[in-house]
């Protein structure tokens, strides 16, 4: 549906987007991830024909953004970072105007306006001035505006920015709901959002493509080996951490044991095992046989946040150092 090849945007002195290439298949929902100023908005603006690329090509539904901008624009619904609304217009009037701009007319237009109002839950503010609506409603009107002509591709620039938690959830659900009918690209710097809504992630940093993969693959790739988190507690109020660590290391299949935290007689370990081996059963048995309590045992899925920081570099160590309680002990392998 969308093919981007070596897309580059240069401004006078800076390169905002540097040779990005990716593809999005029909019906997919793709998260466009990156810190602020990474070039997300610029890339989206190039896809929507708002900005012309300096080099490289981008095609949407088979049409090049430079050669057939009108055809591309007909097939794209776009929600910029701030919803493009006219405060002096009423909701229904505004949607009608946008619908007409996108080529709808007559009975079709009325039907679509009713449909998107229902879909985005804005029917109750149909006759209100847009300038008087709350941020959440404005965002939904923005979304309604983007889908009014039933476009093949939806491009959403930070659709949940500035909303309260309840509205964020509603908006996410709405976007997930729309995924079946449209191909969606949404940009965000909020990681859980991508984990929750997207199938595919494109990570960019400083204008360069860092990774593009499915959420699950990315998690697996960053982790390399499987790992579990295990919390062990001593029976009589004391726990000898090195002994526990030593015992856990002896379980077959375990490659590394890390003590992450110790509070009184409890200790939290992260246990890495060789790929493809399940060690959870053996770990549990070992702990119980040695006379300790097993408080917790769970697979440690690496959050996208960690992957993201790992891929875009830098910030991770600094943040870790700030947490005073964490005690990192390398095992004596």
């Amino acid at each position: 549906m969308i093919t981007v090849k070596d897309l580059t945007k240069r401004y006078a002195r800076t390169i905002a987007v540097d040779q990005i290439s990716f593809e999005v298949a029909k019906g997919q929902i793709v998260g466009f991830l990156g810190p602020n100023g990474a070039g997300k908005t610029t890339t989206m603006r190039m896809l929507t024909c708002f900005l012309p690329p300096s080099a490289g090509t981008a095609t949407v539904a088979g049409f090049d953004v430079l050669e057939h901008p009108l055809e591309v624009k007909r097939r794209i619904g776009y929600l910029p970072e701030t919803p493009p609304i006219y405060p002096e217009m009423e909701t229904a009037e505004y949607l009608k105007f946008v619908g007409k701009l996108k080529g709808l007319s007559g009975a079709d237009l009325g039907k679509r306006v009713d449909y998107v109002c229902g879909r985005c839950a804005i029917s109750d503010v149909k006759n209100k001035l847009l300038g008087k609506l709350s941020k959440g409603y404005r965002q939904r009107v923005g979304l309604a505006q983007a889908i009014i002509h039933n476009p093949d591709v939806l491009i959403l620039d930070e659709p949940t920015a500035g909303l309260d938690p309840k509205q964020i959830n509603e908006t996410r659900d709405l976007i997930k709901d729309l995924a079946g009918e449209h191909t969606i690209i949404l940009s965000t710097h909020i990681l859980p959002e991508v984990e929750q809504t997207c199938e595919q992630v494109i990570i960019i940093n400083k204008g360069k493509l860092v990774a593009t993969d499915s959420v699950r693959n990315l998690q697996a790739r960053a982790r390399g080996a499987e790992s579990v988190v295990i919390e062990v507690a001593g029976r009589n109020g004391t726990l000898d951490v090195p002994i526990v660590q030593h015992k856990l290391e002896q379980v077959s299949g375990v490659s590394r044991v890390l003590c992450k935290q110790q509070i009184d007689s409890r200790a939290l370990f992260e246990v890495e095992s060789q790929k493809g081996r399940s060690v959870r059963g053996d770990l549990a048995r070992t702990v119980v046989q040695c006379g300790w309590d097993l408080n917790e045992l769970r697979p440690a899925a690496m959050s996208l946040e960690e992957i993201f920081l790992q891929l875009t570099g830098s910030e991770a160590p600094a943040e870790r150092a700030e947490e005073p309680k964490v005690l990192v002990q390398e095992s004596q392998q």
Partner: protein
């Protein structure tokens, strides 16, 4: 064509949804009403004096009221036109709605012409006030309507040119005040630039006075359609809209 109309309707809606249009209409109505009352009062007093002296100097409504008033409208327009055009693009740039227009399947030129047309229609609404005043002349006197019609045509062309310049300047900034002030400055300059022609006859002075937006109105005011003057205004309209299109394009390249 359809898109031009859609944009135009929306712009007119915005003018009349905000106090802008009503403020302009009221101010213009009051100011022009005063001009008209003034001119008429002078005309009547002068006529009575002539009669008392026993002279029969020909009194002419067209020459003594309509013509000077129409050129006054051109001058009042200099003050009103920046207020009409300043928001056209500056406001869209400030609120980000320009992104909606630019990513809709509409050509830049359709957006520009639509907006310019809306501004021109609002200006026509202002001119309606003058028509109401002139209607009294027709009721109680017997002026010739043809020079009046030609005068209106001239005013429309002149306003079209000034509005095109204002539209262009509005694309240059996000700030309405700056757009308005700059438009006013440029239009004032285009008016006074012709004054050099009154005392200087060398080449450069004639060029400058040719550029003046007011001097080209004189033929229309007399009721004459001079193609030279019509072409001047049409060229300015074309140039203004052309530069607007270029400016919108460069907006995208620079952004």
């Amino acid at each position: 064509m359809r898109n031009i109309w859609i944009i135009c309707r929306k712009e007119l809606g915005s003018y009349f949804a905000s106090p802008v249009a009503y403020l302009l209409l009221t101010m213009f109505g009051v100011i022009f009403g005063f001009f008209f009352w003034n001119a008429l009062g002078y005309f009547v007093v002068e006529g009575m004096e002539m009669q008392m002296r026993g002279q029969s100097f020909p009194m002419n409504l067209n020459e003594q009221i309509i013509r000077p008033l129409l050129s006054n409208v051109g001058v009042i327009g200099l003050f009103f036109i920046p207020m009409i055009t300043m928001r056209l693009f500056a406001e869209e740039k400030r609120t980000g709605t320009i992104e909606l227009l630019a990513t809709s399947p509409v050509r830049d030129l359709e957006i520009i012409v639509g907006k310019w047309l809306a501004a021109l229609i609002l200006y026509c609404c202002l001119l309606l006030f003058t028509a109401v005043n002139f209607a009294f002349l027709f009721k109680y006197g017997n002026p010739d309507w043809k020079p009046l019609a030609m005068g209106y045509l001239g005013l429309l062309l002149q306003a079209g040119a000034l509005l095109a310049i204002g539209t262009f300047i509005s694309t240059l900034t996000k700030n309405q005040i700056i757009a308005g002030a700059a438009t006013f400055g440029v239009e004032l300059l285009l008016w006074v630039i012709g004054w050099v022609g009154e005392y200087e006859t060398s080449m450069w002075a004639r060029v400058l006075s040719y550029l003046s937006i007011i001097t080209h109105f004189e033929s229309f005011g007399r009721g004459v359609l001079d193609s030279k003057d019509a072409v001047f205004y049409l060229t300015l309209i074309f140039l203004g809209l052309f530069f607007t299109a270029r400016s919108m394009e460069s907006l995208r390249w620079r952004s």
